[in-house]
């Protein structure tokens, strides 16, 4: 048992789940968050997930893969994922690394991310 293990909180507001990643995640924590979010979508019937990564100082190929995997899995469960607040240095590095994140919607901040989800839900 690892007592240092932190869980990343997931908050539900109306039809949305809001997740703010504020720790430097190790791989297992990233995978755990992926599962946690999918379970919350199932439990609450949330239609959208906003993941704030504005305090993440780096996204490497593994974390990038977890984030894009999460978006595809959530889509199958009829929920849309929007990644918000990526730092410019992180965006530059991701592209140079060669990582594309197909199917992942992004927004500059929480507010725009929320608007994006609302537009999408109203259209449906």
């Amino acid at each position: 048992m690892d007592f240092n293990e932190k869980r990343i909180p997931i908050i539900k507001i109306r039809d949305y789940l809001i997740v703010s990643i504020q720790v430097d995640m190790h791989d297992r924590l990233a995978l755990q968050l992926q599962t946690q979010i999918l379970e919350e979508i199932y439990r609450t019937g949330a239609k959208g997930v906003l993941i704030d990564i504005s305090t993440l100082e780096m996204v490497d190929s593994f974390i990038g893969r977890v984030l894009s995997g999460m978006a595809s899995m959530a889509a199958i469960m009829d929920a849309a994922v929007v990644i918000v607040g990526m730092q410019p240095a992180v965006a530059i590095t991701l592209v140079e690394l060669g990582l594309e994140m197909p199917g992942v919607d992004t927004a500059l901040n929480m507010e725009l991310g929320m608007e994006m989800l609302e537009k999408r839900l109203n259209k449906a």
Binding site: M58, D60, F62, P88, L97
Partner: protein, 141 residues
């Protein structure tokens, strides 16, 4: 492929063991901190941190861990941050293949080594099958 040689004038800043996933997080924070102290901008700090994160994960996944040396020194007349990853793992049989975009031997996406190389100013690799792998990356200030 030549063996990786160190320069005696380099200064060892920190030695980090990589034994578990927490060590990976700790070691990449150490690298970022020294990048910052060396006066790197935020983008270069992020590049070197991301590059070493890929290397540390490889050590952990494929070699069961290893050791990381963080050094600073003058390389080609430039102030340079030097990160060397040493493991006693299975080694890489075909380095050219391992350096190819999209090639993966495990569950990864295959961006680890080639991606890491693109993010740094110099990338050296030396590997012997069944003995281990040493990878050194450098970033100029």
């Amino acid at each position: 492929m030549n063996e990786i040689v160190s320069d005696k004038s380099w200064i060892l800043l920190e030695r980090c063991p990589i034994q578990n996933e927490h060590d990976i997080v700790k070691a990449r924070q150490v690298v970022r901190q020294f990048g910052k102290e060396a006066g790197m901008g935020i983008v270069d700090q992020t590049r070197i941190t991301t590059a070493v994160s890929e290397l540390f994960r490889n050590m952990f996944l494929y070699a069961g861990g290893g050791e990381v040396l963080v050094e600073k020194g003058i390389v080609d007349e430039r102030n340079t941050l030097i990160v060397t990853c040493i493991d006693q793992g299975p080694g890489i049989a075909n380095i050219e293949l391992a350096m190819t975009d999209g090639y993966t031997s495990g569950g990864g996406m295959g961006y680890g080594l080639p991606g890491s190389k693109r993010l740094v100013d110099r990338f050296e690799i030396y590997s012997q099958v069944n003995k281990g792998t040493t990878i050194r990356v450098m970033k100029w200030k």
